[in-house]
Symmetry: C2
Subunit: 243 residues, 2 copies
């Protein structure tokens, strides 16, 4: 069963696709997946803006809303990140191939990332969510990091879900940002603004199957780690809309 | 206009509320907000498990799925976190009051957190999302942190959205975790498992108004930071389902 339809073949304007944002929540979540192979065809700015507008409804620590979103469409900026992505992938992808040798689902993921690495300049839109302000949560340094990233990744997930609902291919990557200094230069970011991740967007090429996940009973613990009363319990509708 | 209805008054079983998980995606996002004042009434385990099951569909770095979710219902464990929350709040809340004096919307948030601090033991369920494995993304230390937290907060946002859809009050907090050693002891977590945040869940008390957000044109930059072509542009349906 394939669950991610190709983007609309005909009219891909905001007006033509906007009602898709009302996809049932559980269906959007159950059918979300990284879609890395996308067409070079342009994406209507209004669609991208609406996805980001929905991203802005996510929570931020102390309601700081200290986020900025750089929408990259300029080919030369993308080419700069493509070079960084390739140089990092030569190292990271090589490790991945050795570590995951013989695991067919990981091999598929690696092949899709490889495609993205090779075609990065052709991706029509890449959104770069950023945070203003350094990691700090004085007087509690132990939770400073988690509170910092907890103020941006919920919005990134809204962005990914909104893209999925409207039929846009999307994925969450960080590897092209491995040189933060280069990323700041390429995007004109001041030192006070940290690029957090990248979300390449485009109309999907081809079809995609469902994801697989560890069963909920295996990852849930009751009151104390290791106490797993729901382990092995078959849940009637555990596949939900993806079943 | 109030947008968060009270939880169902009568039957609050999974069977009675499960169709709410199919709320339109955009409506769930546009009406999401921190709901801290919750009733002590129990929440059906099946509902909590379904929220976590939907959380598990979010992406993780290299598809690691290295997450664990501790569901805390034990009053004595909650009392331990309540004490830590109170001691941290004496410091942090005091700073907050001085910094936000005269800002009515922040005063409301502070009052709601204060309520949560005072009633933490009465919250029926607190979910603690955790990550196995330390922050590491060799050979790229610069993106190790962001990749780490990017493997859990998307799932936390799914959890929050699922709770919102089904009518459960939820919020995202980190302050009770300021002593990571204490949190590990209270939850029986091995050193290899890091508690990331807490999501208190319960049926809402009272009604809640909509959130306010910076307009999308103010936070979006095109290709380079500071270039904001959509600044001041009024978007026709910018309020969407919340309008």
């Amino acid at each position: 069963m394939t669950i991610n339809e190709r983007g609309p073949e005909g009219d891909r304007s905001y007006a033509a696709v906007s009602e898709r944002f009302s996809m049932p929540l559980d269906e959007a979540m159950l059918t979300q997946r990284a879609v890395r192979k996308v067409l070079p065809d342009p994406v209507d700015d209004e669609i991208v803006l609406r996805c980001i507008e929905l991203a802005l409804r996510a929570p931020t620590g102390s309601n700081g809303q200290n986020w900025e979103f750089v929408v990259v469409k300029d080919r030369s900026v993308l080419a700069t990140f493509a070079r960084r992505y390739r140089s990092a992938w030569r190292i990271y992808g090589g490790i991945g191939e050795r570590v995951t040798a013989g695991d067919p689902s990981m091999s598929k993921i690696l092949a899709a990332v490889e495609w993205q690495v090779d075609h990065f300049e052709e991706i029509p839109v890449v959104v770069v969510p950023c945070l203003r302000g350094a990691v700090r949560f004085a007087p509690f340094p132990t939770i400073a990091q988690t509170s910092h990233y907890g103020s941006i990744y919920p919005s990134v997930q809204n962005l990914l879900l909104a893209a999925r609902a409207v039929g846009l291919g999307a994925s969450l990557i960080t590897l092209p940002l491995w040189s933060v200094a280069m990323a700041r230069r390429a995007l004109g970011l001041p030192l006070s603004v940290q690029p957090i991740c990248m979300v390449p967007l485009g109309w999907p090429r081809g079809r995609y199957g469902p994801t697989t996940r560890r069963p909920v009973g295996e990852v849930v613990h009751l009151d104390t780690y290791g106490r797993q009363p729901w382990r092995g319990v078959e849940r009637a509708d555990s596949q939900g809309a993806a079943g």
